[in-house]
């Protein structure tokens, strides 16, 4: 594997879920992980320890030599937020397809009907997208969409504002209007562990302002959403994400996905990507 792929941090477990040592896959290779006392460890197939970071309730590792620290989400540290470990969903698709779906709002009325979207509110207004060179991240801002039930905490339909951030090739952070606290952002993340280039484990994590819902209500809400997404992700052809134009047809609503694909190509991130147009 190339440095452009190995030298990133990848989520491999929810810290609260680590008890006995276990094996998993990262980029098609076996790794093992566990906990000794307070500290988590990860080893490759040869038994060599790999670097670890414990952050956002998850254990992160890298098969290479990351040239920068794992990204941070400073907003998630503000007091009053509830941090929600959602669990994981294994999906038979490229890790990049999973991230791209997370960046897409136009599917809400059709896949998350009457929750995150509903006809006739299907129009996607123009929003801003750019690759922020100074931090090497993809950002989409001023994304607005009408949602019948934007979160567990929403009392009815509202126009929700979104900001999307792609701080690493298989991770995305969503900042979204917080129904009980206008002016603040709820944070929903998608951390994707590439098991192979066509199979991934998705670890969503949330930092929400919601004083009323129980933890299990918030988890169930998000799991329902991801199960709906899985029915799409396992039925896209090809399973890998095409990075070259020509195989798929974007529109203005897909500006985030277009920027994401362009950025992956620019940084040479080809794991789970399809490079030659069919």
């Amino acid at each position: 594997m190339s440095a452009a792929i190995d030298n990133h941090w990848y989520p491999v477990a929810m810290i609260s879920g680590i008890d006995a040592p276990r094996e998993t896959l990262l980029l098609g290779k076996k790794i093992s992980l566990g906990r000794d006392g307070g500290a988590c460890w990860v080893k490759n197939a040869q038994g060599t320890p790999l670097p670890t970071v414990e952050r956002f309730g998850h254990l992160w590792t890298s098969p290479g030599q990351p040239n920068r620290d794992l990204f941070t989400i400073p907003e998630a540290d503000s007091p009053g937020r509830r941090l929600v470990d959602v669990g994981s969903v294994k999906v038979k698709c490229s890790p990049l397809r999973a991230v791209e779906n997370f960046l897409d709002i136009a599917h809400f009325p059709f896949v998350h009907t009457d929750i995150l979207g509903a006809e006739p509110h299907t129009e996607v207004d123009r929003y801003d997208v750019k690759i922020r060179e100074e931090v090497d991240e993809v950002w989409a801002t001023k994304v607005k969409f009408y949602q019948p039930q934007a979160a567990k905490s929403a009392a009815g339909g509202i126009t929700t504002e979104y900001m999307y951030r792609v701080p690493a090739p298989t991770c995305s952070v969503l900042y979204k209007t917080c129904p009980p606290r206008p002016g603040e952002w709820d944070i929903i993340t998608l951390f994707v562990q590439p098991l192979t280039d066509e199979w991934c484990e998705v670890w969503p994590w949330m930092a929400l302002y919601d004083d009323d819902s129980t933890m299990s209500e918030m988890v169930s809400f998000q799991q329902l959403i991801f199960m709906q997404d899985r029915s799409i992700l396992e039925n896209q052809l090809p399973r890998k994400l095409p990075l070259d134009p020509g195989m798929e047809v974007p529109t203005q609503a897909d500006m985030t996905s277009v920027a994401y694909r362009r950025w992956l190509k620019k940084i040479g991130y080809t794991y789970g990507a399809k490079l030659v147009a069919a």
């Binding site: 136009a106 599917h107 009325p109 059709f110 896949v111 006809e119 299907t122 129009e123 996607v124 029915s231 799409i232 039925n235 896209q236 052809l237 090809p238 095409p242 195989m247 798929e248 047809v249 974007p250 529109t251 203005q252 609503a253």
Partner: protein, 200 residues
Amino acid sequence: MDWIAVGLAQDVPPGVVIPSRIEDTEMAIWCTPSGRYHAWSDRCPHRGMRLSHGFVRGETLACIYHGWQYNETGSCDYIPAHPKLTPPDTICVPTYTCVEDGGVIWVSLNSGNDPLPALGARVPIRSVPVSLSAKDVAAHFGTAGFTTIAVVSDYDTLLAVQPCTDTSCILHVLATPDADPKAVSRWVEELRTTLEGVPA
């Protein structure tokens, strides 16, 4: 091999879409509310979603992922994310020649100029998946071609064979109109067991 049976009309009523395949060609087979059949590539050009998971709305087939609607020629008519936009003609789904005849949905991946297989007075009974290639099914009956195979039975049966993979096919079974469908059904279950080589 020109015309291949890809399903029975009774299993694809108006307003329904199903997945089907001829070898490596995966298709969405759908029937318009007014009863016309279509066989399309099973892939939305937008983001590659299988159209067989979509839904029929009016005389169009809509993709389940973003609701893009394709008219009967395969051209995209409507993109819900951009309701005021007239989609360019270049956004279209590859289509295959498809007709319904004798209660069977036939697809041609070639010219579609060959005459349709003659079914006589037979009527469709049911479709049965078999874990054996279409070629091996034909070999079992001692024929080279497998589009349709007449089989001597009490029911004047005819098999329209749909090749799927190297190890599977679907038999669309037709029989004489006065045959008891349950009896034909039992007959084809036995045939399947024989073909798959499983001891009864």
